[in-house]
């Protein structure tokens, strides 16, 4: 039964709500079916002795992840993080305060893994692992988008995302996986991408794009698939292949590559940049997904790997790919592995090989949404903070009207779109709408101040989430666009005497 959702009213500033215990208690996501679990190497259903299995798993993770072990001990309950989560601000459910979310598992940790909790459980707030606790885990560890905003403010850097990942891994180990994430990982293994788009359909789509772009600008911009010997392998979120506004971003990358005069290709084997193994905290699955990219790069004999606009994908790519699937010593050592498409375009711009006509975008007044995992879990370029400056430099190079939202809502203090970390599913729609509130508030404020017309983003999840939730807040769904759409629209194609093969103007 569809429940009516109270969409938060946007105020002139963000109010810390009065707590409403358990308002989101029944809002957990659908549970994965046994066969989806099996495909990922997890138990299918909750077994009778689930408690002991869960506790064993917890013990194992405490020995495998320093973050989890230290974060279980170090929190002093100072409260600094309590108002930092967009889900707390949007839902008012106290269990969405980062520390309270951690406590759902910490109180079990204390009970079974610490002396104080074994002997004085009441004193230190330790509890037995009961079915009620299990349900809370399922609910509230799926109300965290692993956005790491809390970790920015905690005096010990406690990252609730790490705790959420551990909790989800424990849940998976006892057959309580989340349908959305696990189903998608299964599709990646079977077909190669999150959307389950098979190779022929992908090829068709790309050919269609080629025709559209040619009809549009009169230049044959290529969208190659599985072309061995290309210089660059582009790995991009599968939403880029047809969803709006993502696809205009893909067109933008293709135009940039065209203008750069490089050969490039997509891969049907690695036709997905996102790595949902991250969401469920599973190193094994994350590694298995990452290895497809290595294999594709070897098979196609490329020299460089470039990632399209995708937030969590970029985190796994930037921070983990080398560790999970490296070393990449078979690639051209002059370039970082992997590179972000924004880095690629930025370098091109810096070296004067890209001419942009800003006036094309004069009808747009832009602002930029820093995607959480790009902002707080990765970098671009070679100085810290390049992940903030490079996309902004690109936008400013492509249009005349750019304004930032309020400073406490951008850069590493950015608010998550509300749909990250495996929550971009309709069974969590209420959470997604409410969680988007802080970002919508900042957008609203900037809109009043600067008459913003469009919100640019570099993440497939952000783009999909905004498309869905913007209308609930009185905006239009097409106000969100890709950074590379701006670039693509503004590119002035130049004839290139060195690479005449690129000058196929018809």
């Amino acid at each position: 039964m569809a429940k009516t959702i109270d969409v938060p009213v946007l105020k002139p500033y963000i109010e810390i709500p009065k707590l409403q215990p358990d308002v989101m208690a029944g809002s957990g996501p659908y549970i994965a079916k046994p066969d989806m679990q099996a495909a990922l190497g997890f138990r299918g259903e909750l077994p009778e002795d689930w408690q002991s299995i869960a506790l064993n798993k917890m013990g194992e993770l405490l020995k495998k992840y320093r973050s989890f072990q230290v974060y279980m001990d170090a929190c002093v309950k100072c409260g600094a993080c309590t108002d930092k989560c967009h889900y707390l601000l949007g839902t008012a459910d106290p269990k969405n305060m980062p520390v309270a979310r951690q406590d759902l598992i910490r109180k079990v940790y204390r009970r079974y893994f610490t002396l104080a909790g074994k002997y004085f459980p009441k004193l230190v707030g330790a509890v037995d692992l009961t079915e009620e606790v299990l349900n809370d885990w399922h609910n509230y560890y799926h109300q965290c988008s692993e956005c790491r905003r809390c970790s920015v403010y905690c005096p010990y850097g406690i990252d609730t995302a790490e705790v959420t990942m551990a909790a989800r891994e424990i849940l998976n180990s006892i057959g309580r996986g989340q349908k959305y994430s696990n189903e998608i990982i299964g599709k990646v293994y079977k077909i190669g991408n999150n959307l389950g788009l098979p190779e022929p359909a992908l090829r068709d789509t790309l050919e269609g794009l080629e025709e559209d772009v040619e009809a549009d600008i009169g230049i044959k911009v290529r969208f190659p698939l599985d072309e061995a010997g290309a210089e660059i392998l582009l790995v991009t979120p599968s939403a880029d292949f047809f969803a709006e506004p993502h696809v205009d971003g893909l067109v933008g990358y293709a135009k940039v590559f065209h203008q750069a005069g490089v050969t490039w290709t997509l891969s049907s084997k690695a036709s997905e940049a996102a790595n949902f193994g991250l969401f469920i905290g599973s190193y094994e699955n994350m590694r298995r997904i990452a290895l497809r990219i290595r294999e594709a790069a070897i098979e196609l004999g490329v020299k460089r790997i470039v990632f399209g606009e995708c937030g969590h994908a970029w985190r796994v790519a930037y921070s983990f790919l080398n560790t999970l699937a490296g070393p990449f010593d078979f690639l051209d050592p002059r370039y970082p592995v992997p590179q972000h498409i924004c880095e690629f375009t930025y370098d091109l711009l810096q070296s004067g090989k890209l001419t942009l006509d800003k006036s094309v975008n004069d009808h747009r007044v832009m602002t930029f949404h820093d995607s959480c995992n790009v902002a707080r879990a990765s970098r671009m370029g070679n100085v810290p903070g390049g992940q903030f400056t490079i996309p902004r430099e690109l936008i400013k190079a492509a249009c005349n009207n750019f304004y930032d939202m309020a400073p406490e809502t951008i850069h590493d203090q950015t608010y998550c779109c509300g749909g990250g970390g495996g929550l971009l599913t309709d069974d969590l729609l209420e959470l997604r709408i409410k969680g988007a509130m802080p970002r919508m508030q900042a957008l609203q404020q900037a809109t009043e101040q600067y008459q913003i017309t469009h919100l640019a983003a570099i993440c497939a999840i952000c783009k999909s989430q905004f498309t869905k939730v913007l209308p609930y807040y009185g905006f239009k769904m097409d106000q969100v666009i890709s950074v590379h759409q701006l670039i693509g629209d503004a590119i002035v194609f130049q004839t290139d005497s060195e690479h005449p093969e690129n000058n196929t103007v018809t």
């Binding site: 230290v70 600094a80 104080a116 005096p155 010990y156 406690i158 921070s319 810290p384």
Partner: protein, 245 residues
Amino acid sequence: MVLTTIYALLFYFATAVLLFGVGYKVYQYASVPAPLKIPTTPAPTTRTGVVLRMLREVIWFESLFRANKWIWLFGMLFHGALWLVLLRHVRYFIDPVWTWVILIQPIGKYAGFIMMIGLVGLLVRRIAVERIRYISSPSDYLMLVLLLAIGGSGLMMTFVLHTDIVQFKAFMLGVMTFSWQPIPPDPILLLHLTAVLLLMIIFPYSKLLHAPGVFFSPTRNQVDNPREQRHIADWAKRLEDASSS
């Protein structure tokens, strides 16, 4: 003499628990691998940069400052003053007393008040702010009460009811050199000592582990260089070996 024996033995016990307990936790933190690079970015790209980040964190409470000015203020007052008070107390453990310890004595004495202001501020917030009340367990309040008892009894002895500090120092040095001297049977001193010993004993079993823990927090102590260097844990390496063989 019974009192002296009890306190002397308690001192050995508490010291042993503190050292071994914290030693064990530090060993544990150091030996559990951090299998992935997870610094909260923007993060330093060099070791030196990380050391500076850590120093800003433990001296200036940089993240807390960005988060909440009130908690920062009270936390800063408490921890800053605590350091001065602790350093001042070095005089009871050495003979002759080092010059710098003598020099900070006057500031150290008054720092006790600052410490109390910080603690009261934290306690009031814990009770008054709904969100912090929600996340507090009895132990969180008791910890503040214990610290307040230590600070309060200490201030009493410094400013109101002086204890026989010369005799106390003789006791302390006696405990350290295993030639026990009688402890002054002063109730406030005994309360002060009992609370301190209790704190030492619960240290390795409580949230006081934040003190060593902060240095092991991967979001703060990692260098941001994952594209340049692989960062593979032993257990993850085994997955690799298993799939390649």
